[in-house]
């Protein structure tokens, strides 16, 4: 098992009387740069602290025009982390490829981060969320074909000796010859996050990349998603490696179950009720009809609909409790899901600095070593009978 600390870098100071969406049209007059100054530095400290505590990697991601996550440029964050850490993997999960024009920007910036960090980059590629297609006025009905073309360009830039030429439907690059190139050969490990669209799973399986399950749904939805991903790999003629899958999950550890819930619940619900609204827009043509139909089953389990703590616990929307409880729940769920990477969201919503650090420490000291023992790297994680049940 590999352990990552994932940060969304949320905006924690939406005024109590604001009840609109946190995305696309959330008024940017609500953004206080002084808060921005504080939280960017604090959040970076939390990621850097994860290295000190023994995590294998840290993760940042990209979203635009929203209060949910303040990282329109995760590459800026990753380049800071490349300098301020020395051992951990730095996973950028990911760059929304169609939003970079030309997409050689991604090949360049990722290569810079890989060079600065000495080969510690994990390169994530995403189509971009539904809201981004509004924020950028990009045509969502062409999102996927653009994504595939961008991917081909980045891989070509990294793996071919230039100059080469790319003449595609959306991009015409007559001199494809990016400087610098990544340290890692043939290229950094590639992660693709997904919410369950069939095309993404098939794409990841075909290229032997790793598939990261995006959270905020009932654990049954994840179970089905990872099962479908394994089947997609089987159709490509191989067994998925656990390292090809990652489960992103909010985690909070305190001294006791009771204390953990008391300290965590309101911050979790700030996240769910204030920062998620608007993330779930599905612009026209963004999802194919076959994937829409397949994903429709899970839609109503979306975390935005959560009302009670019991529902949070029952659906494993967050793993919260004493170190024993957190350990047991993670073991059980990891056996069900079969993922070899655990991506913990330790800070969420308005969770302040002090409890975030304490939870990270408790997790690293009392949970992570036991999980490493339970799930030795390279071993199978999935327990078949659990998956069938």
């Amino acid at each position: 098992m590999r352990f990552f600390s994932f940060h969304l870098m949320p905006y924690p100071a939406l005024p109590p009387d604001y009840d609109g969406p946190a995305w696309i049209t959330c008024p940017n007059a609500l953004f206080d740069p002084e808060v921005g100054h504080q939280v960017y530095n604090r959040y970076l400290d939390e990621l850097i602290y994860a290295e000190e505590l023994g995590f294998d990697g840290v993760c940042v991601n990209e979203h635009h025009q929203n209060a949910y996550g303040l990282m329109p440029s995760p590459n800026l964050m990753a380049s800071i982390l490349a300098r301020q850490t020395s051992r951990v993997k730095i996973a950028v999960v990911g760059n929304a490829l169609p939003l970079y024009n030309p997409p050689t920007r991604v090949a360049e910036e990722f290569a810079m981060i890989d060079c600065i960090s000495g080969g510690r980059l994990i390169a994530g590629f995403v189509v971009g969320g539904g809201p981004e297609y509004y924020s950028f006025s990009m045509n969502p009905a062409q999102a996927r074909e653009r994504f595939y073309e961008c991917h081909d360009i980045v891989l070509e830039a990294w793996t071919s000796d230039g100059p080469t030429e790319h003449i595609g439907k959306h991009y015409k690059l007559r001199y494809l010859n990016t400087w610098p190139k990544p340290v890692q050969k043939p290229h950094p490990e590639i992660w693709i996050p997904g919410v369950g669209s069939l095309e993404t799973m098939e794409f990841v399986a075909r290229h032997h990349y790793a598939y990261m399950g995006i959270p905020y749904f009932h654990v049954n939805v994840f179970e089905r998603t990872f099962r479908m991903f394994r089947e997609a790999c089987e159709k490509e003629g191989y067994q998925a490696d656990p390292m090809q899958m990652g489960w992103l999950e909010p985690i909070y550890v305190a001294e006791s179950d009771e204390q953990a819930r008391r300290e965590y619940e309101e911050h979790f619900f700030y996240f769910v009720k204030r920062l998620l609204p608007g993330i779930n827009v599905s612009p026209p043509g963004y999802t194919t009809l076959r994937s829409y139909e397949s994903m429709l089953k899970g839609f109503n389990t979306f975390a935005i609909n959560l009302e009670t703590w019991d529902q949070v616990v029952e659906g494993q929307y967050a793993i919260v409790g004493s170190s024993d409880t957190v350990y047991e729940r993670l073991v059980e769920n990891l056996h069900r899901l079969g993922t070899g990477n655990l991506l913990g969201l330790f800070q969420l919503g308005t969770l302040p600095a002090e409890p975030t650090r304490r939870s990270l420490e408790l997790f690293a000291r009392e949970v992570m070593p036991r999980l490493r023992k339970e799930f030795p790297e390279g071993d199978k994680v999935l327990r078949e009978q659990a998956a069938v049940a």
Binding site: Y134, S137, M138, N139, P140, A141, Q142, V281, P283, P284, G285, L289, Y292, E293, L296, K297, F299, N300, N305
Partner: protein
């Protein structure tokens, strides 16, 4: 004589099989539907089939028409219409387009004026006019959008939209088969109309090319496309007339079929 339903036919085109609703006899009248994809069993077309050979091709991605992947912008749409014309052996039919279909009709009539015998544009999209923005059709709750499309809130379309929104509020999953046509129509519309939003910046400078006698119809209660758009079409197309229909909203084809059929019949038969 009671109206007869149109027949459901298929033609081939460069982008795939195209569904065409057709009925009646007389002069050819091509109907280009809106982003709502209306054509089948619309009383408007059944009534017009009394006087015309009514031909309503479904645009790629709408209804049973294939080929959405081959359409990327409004230029592709105009060229696709040329294929449809050839397949159907149409020389210079009367063309009647509404909203998105009105825009497509205008694109064809500016590029190939000889292919359009007479032209009716009903609440046409296609232009950008500063200070007169077109309402949002993408990503809105169905109940809200429906109120921008109809003047009459008791229209069955509005009632159905209210039911869909109600399901969403109750967190009931609507059956996929109910959602499919809407998802499909919006995706097909997005291909040509996402950005620039429902317009072609070049179109307004080309409108003088239209040679067909043209009628522009504006629904007086159209809450989606302001009257300035109809005014601009009427002012830029040589000899065009502008008519306002009181009590009509944006989707006039569904809301005021009898009035619209009367206007179309009068305009097309008065030609020459």
């Amino acid at each position: 004589m009671s109206p007869k339903p149109l027949s459901d036919e298929r033609i081939s085109s460069a982008v795939g099989k195209i569904q065409v609703w057709r009925g009646g006899q007389g002069e050819a009248l091509v109907y280009l539907h809106s982003a709502a994809g209306e054509a089948a069993a619309t009383p408007l077309l059944e009534e017009l089939a009394d006087s015309f050979d009514v031909i309503a091709p479904m645009f790629p991605g709408f209804g049973e028409s294939e080929g959405m992947d081959e359409i990327d912008d409004i230029e592709d749409a105009a060229f696709h219409l040329l294929d449809v014309w050839d397949q159907l052996g149409l020389a210079a039919p009367a063309v009647f387009g509404t909203s998105l279909g009105g825009w497509m009709a205008a694109e064809l009539a500016t590029r190939n004026p000889e292919k359009v015998g007479s032209l009716v544009l009903v609440n046409p999209a296609g232009l950008y006019i500063e200070g007169a923005p077109v309402g949002e059709i993408f990503g809105r709750p169905p109940n809200e959008l429906a109120r921008d499309l109809f003047a009459d809130e008791s229209h069955p379309f509005v009632v159905a939209a209210d039911q869909m929104s109600e399901m969403a509020n109750l967190k009931v999953e609507p059956p996929f088969e109910l959602m499919r046509p809407m998802l499909q129509s919006l995706a097909a519309t997005a291909k040509v109309a996402w950005n620039p939003y429902l317009h072609n910046p070049k179109l307004v400078r080309r409108l003088h090319r239209v040679s067909a006698p043209t009628l522009v119809v504006h629904g007086a209660q159209d809450r989606l496309i302001p009257r300035a758009h109809a005014e601009t079409y009427a002012a830029r197309i040589p000899g065009a007339r502008l008519v306002d229909v009181p009590g009509a909203g944006h989707l006039m084809s569904l809301e005021k079929p009898a009035e619209l059929a009367g206007l179309v019949r009068e305009h097309v038969t008065a030609r020459g």
